[in-house]
Amino acid sequence: MEKAKKRQFGIIATIVLAAVIVLGLMWATATAKKNQEHQDTLARVEKLGRIVWGVKADTKLFGLMDTKTGISKGFDVDIAKALTVQLSKQTGVPMSAEFVPVSSSSKIQLLKNTNIDGTVSTMTITPEREKIIDFTKQYFDAGQSILVKKDSGIKSIKDMNDSKYTIIVVVGTTAAEETKKFAPKAKLLAVQDYATGMQALKAGQGQAMSTDNAILYGFATENPDYQIVGGTFTHGPYGIAFDNDQGPMIRETNKALATLKKNGVYNKLIKKWFSNVPGLDWHELEAK
């Protein structure tokens, strides 16, 4: 009797547990799907009176977290602030800007889940990404380059096409894909963020770090033993990204961006962030 009771309890417990797991999974899938359903971003931000922007937290000059205040600072952050002001003027709805730190690998998922409304995060416009999210016109012109130690003897990415070299990239960046095309024989080491990448480079885990020149300049200013060599070998302008099919939001943002470029706010921000970078001709970045 005792044994039968125990067995009965075991069976019931197993069924209940299995049911909980199955229902939980179903609920999670349903939530994920619901989040992916189409929502009009412009309508949402107007209704809530705020735009949540995803910005970088580990990228000097664009979005670097101030550890004292916990707020990111940089060109991207200022552009997002200026855009929010301009969008408020255009739509007649007062909106505030909020910032959420994102990483290269998380930003698309956060857009899809509507955790963030839009992202200004050194994001290169690519055809693959355009299939699943929407980009505005470019807000910054960038291209991929490599950062190496000054005495390494490496002159360009072509020198690195050898299996004895390791190139450090960040997961989820275009550099991770592009590097394979330009140095197919070199090994790749993908790390989670730029700060770790720089540390790994210093520790000798790789001979070069590759990503957009604009980001590398930030590291070169802080680490005088390292330099950017060979110029840029790709052309990959940055765009502001929203979820897929956000026609109205893209239109309004493009309009706001054009206004910022015309009224001098854009050039003022370029000067603020890039005029002190050694080796970079910041006048080339200005809107004409």
Binding site: A176, T196, Q199, A200, K202, G204, Q205
Partner: protein, 213 residues
Amino acid sequence: MDLLQNNFSTFLQGFGYTLLSSIIALVASMILGTFFAILQILPQKWVQKVGNIYVQVFRNIPLLIITFFFFLVVAKLIPMNGFTAGTIALSLYTSAFIAETVRAGILSVNSGQMEGARANGLSFWQAMQHIVLPQAFKIALPSLGNQFINLVKNSSILAFVGGLDLMYQGNMVAANTFDTFGTYIIVALFYLVITLPLSYYMQHLERKLKHAA
């Protein structure tokens, strides 16, 4: 399903590295853990202290920091890649927990066992090896099983240092396909392929040893 088919070789490679790292770390942490467990119960006070410091250091520092220490600091002196650095860190970290588990096992073996063995002419080490440790392991088995499963899951730390493991490959696939949700479900299933048989085997071993007693 397409996701799995298109990236099957990637997932499989990651699975291989995770399995390899887990096996190496399991063996290494078992040996180190037992060694430091014994150190802590030896009569000499200073030896106990050494064992205790080892355990406290590696048990109380996050695994990620130990890993980065080997990957970024030690690698400057002794060149090592992410896989090596991660596996070493994982072995040391787990060995601290195993040391505590095995020590608890040894302490719960009746002290009369050791005294009896010594009285019968066995040396301390002989008694330890043939009389005390086998009983200690049997007592410690359920919590050892826990540690082993934790070890397999903790091996995902390799992803942070480019260790080519399952989690690393999962990150790459998620970044390329943009299907984060689907990718991580597949990664989770691959982990279950290792951990479920492991936990069943530990349970089986427990039951077998119980009957043997």
